[in-house]
């Protein structure tokens, strides 16, 4: 659930989502769910000319299973906090396993 929480902190930031079929979509992150399905608003497709089917689309729901990368704005990510949260989650998982 850590990455779900993490993505929730990025809501209303502009991100670029790269899909497994290489299309890259930039837009404002509007919503994310437990499968890491992503909703983007005000989208703009990189190399738009290659993807004519996207020309009349203004916002998208992307199924989490087809996402390859999410490019994030570096200044919206608090790395030490994320590291700390990761360790804490790992420790919690470890404690649960025992």
């Amino acid at each position: 659930m850590l990455f779900f929480s993490f993505f929730k902190t990025l809501i209303d930031h502009e991100v670029t989502v790269e899909l497994k079929n290489d299309i890259q979509i930039r837009g404002v992150l509007k919503s994310v769910d437990q499968y890491l399905n992503i909703k983007l608003d005000n989208i703009q497709v990189i190399e738009e000319i290659k993807y004519p089917h996207m020309s009349a689309v203004k916002n998208v729901f992307i199924r989490g299973s087809v996402v390859r990368y999410v490019h994030l704005p570096a200044n919206a990510v608090d790395i030490p906090l994320l590291e700390d949260a990761t360790r804490r989650e790992a420790a919690n998982q470890g404690a649960k396993a025992k």
Binding site: M1, L2, F4, S5, F6, K8, T9, I11, D12, L19, K20, N21, D22, I23, I25, S31, V32, D33, Q34, Y35, N37, K39, I43, E48, I49, K50, Y51, P52, H53, M54, S55, A56, V57, K58, N59, V60, F61, I62, R63, S65, V66, D78, L81, L82, D84, A85, R88, E89
Partner: protein
């Protein structure tokens, strides 16, 4: 349960749903930082597949499938796996420029398909059509006769297949595993 859900509803009282571990505003305490005020207002059900698809219901959508097909239809029903019911669906075929000799512009055509139930795993993305732009052809593309576009699309597929085979062969020679180099989906 989901049918009655609205993103305007207040967050449900505890117990919180399992996908939103407790914490102020539904943000788990794991990240330690108090959430910014605007996030505090977001109800927990903003973060379910149900809520994300709810505001696309009854809208005209472009659905891109894993096999490269593009469907345009009205979203009538869905579930948490993004299984979809689409009404008045048209399949939109695109042929990029240069598929046929002397074809400087791309072509597209719609084929009436009717009602679709799409299994969620095959969905790449759903896009809400901008109603102001939906009747304009995409930049560099012209509407053409279905039969023509269909024939060119098949031709294009065959071309791509040959090219893909060549690529896989070359990559295999360099030691890359060809099993995971599937077809290119656009």
């Amino acid at each position: 349960m989901m049918e009655n859900l609205s993103i305007n509803d207040p967050a449900p009282p505890p117990p919180m749903p399992p996908h939103a571990p407790a914490g102020p505003g539904g943000i788990p305490p794991a990240l330690g930082r108090p959430p910014p005020p605007q996030q505090q207002q977001l109800p927990a059900q903003m973060f379910t597949t149900a809520a994300q698809l709810l505001d696309l219901t009854d809208k005209k959508l472009m659905v891109a499938l894993r096999d490269g097909r593009k469907l345009v239809g009205i979203l009538r029903s869905w579930d948490q796996f993004a299984n979809l019911v689409l009404q008045s669906t048209k399949e939109r075929l695109f042929v990029p420029p240069g598929t046929a000799p002397n074809q400087p512009r791309g072509l597209y055509a719609d084929i009436d398909r009717g009602l679709f139930v799409v299994r969620g795993e095959n969905v790449l993305l759903l896009g809400e059509m901008d109603l102001d732009k939906e009747d304009d052809p995409p930049a560099g593309y012209d509407l053409a006769d279905v039969a023509v576009v269909k024939k060119l699309a098949e031709q294009r597929k065959a071309q791509d297949k040959v090219r893909e085979k060549k690529k896989v062969k070359l990559l295999a020679k360099e030691g890359f595993d060809s099993e995971n180099l599937g077809e290119v989906l656009l």
